[in-house]
Amino acid sequence: MAATFENPADLEEREQMALSTLLKRLGDDEFVLAERYTEWQVRAPSLESDLALANNAQDELGHARLWYDVLEDLGFKERSLVFEREPSDFRHSTLVELPFEEGNWADPILRSYLYDVAEELRLEALEDSTHPKIADRVRKIQSEERYHLEHAQSWMERLADGDEGHERLQDVLDRLFPHALTLFEPVDSDVEADIVDLGLRDATLEELREEWLSVIVPYLESLDLEIPEIDQTDDDKLEVAVDQEMLPDERGRDGGHTDAWFDLYDEFTRTYRELGRSETTKIMEKPNEQ
């Protein structure tokens, strides 16, 4: 049967699972990346760069919310998706959860670049989604994302231009690259196949990864950065064999996370827990309801 995502209540279990998995991948990446970006507030190298990254963080929070909104159709609530969720249920890539190397501005910049290229590609693959609410959101997000890539690339080029900046970028690339590959790892391979079969997204993870590599590899090379463990057998054709050994032990998508994630989770849920909150968006009751 042709699945219709107009009425979430009519969805079969397989469709619900595919939908919720896709949305958690999308929403969790955005949410956790925003959490990390905000650590740079008042610490970035200049006032402008501080505001730019803080603004990108706010964009990502807005996008996380757009995806979580669609999850709410399946019966989730914002609090159960964020503040009351088991940390191991989050499906983000480990790229977004890693702590920044202290004071190393090349880290958020390169991370943003690797992530934003991947995001651009996966949004393209969602433009014709069979789920009307997903398709409805894509263009809005794309229009707000364009600046992110521009921001990351203009900084990459500045950093790569000097010896120290170049060295820092290379160190960060060596450290982040295996984690960036987890962006394309499956939550569960059967469910991932369903996501494509049901037309929720029209590219497989492998296709997205290939496309991503075909964008980032030439760009990084143009800045004289070496991509770790990538064999290029043919000058004209990019031959990148990604094997499991290149991936980190924790892949994020499958619920396995680095210790840093559990620390971050404790930190952002602390106030909610300590104040005994049960609503996410209400600071206080309205005066006339007290």
């Binding site: 807005g62 919310r65 757009l66 263009r139």
Partner: protein, 137 residues
Amino acid sequence: MSSDISETDATPCAYTDYRKGEQANSLTETGDDATGLEAAVWNTLYEIEDPEMPISIVDLGLLYGVSVQDGVAHVEMTLTYSGCPARDMLTEQVEEAVAAVEGVKDIELQLVWSPEWTTERVTEQGKEDLREFGLSV
């Protein structure tokens, strides 16, 4: 003023076919044709201002559609920015105001995101309000 060049001699390009078209922002829903209860809902929406600027949310172009069926008002609107911190404040304000319209039993508000909001959606009245506020639009 030194430049006093009159533009009255300007002629349209001979190679272009000129026709009277619709206004650029005519896609913006403002409820001009609405009647009855729907008109009452539009009037109420007109009174709600953006949280940061003295402009009606209707003139700002946030509304995508209003319909009332069996006393239930269906309102489709967007926000200028997905990360809008005033989202709940604004949607709650809309829900409360519309629910208070006489004859409306319930309201279903849906946030929609395409076509995405741009400044093109601001009506002429809205542009005037924004200019008066000091923005260049």
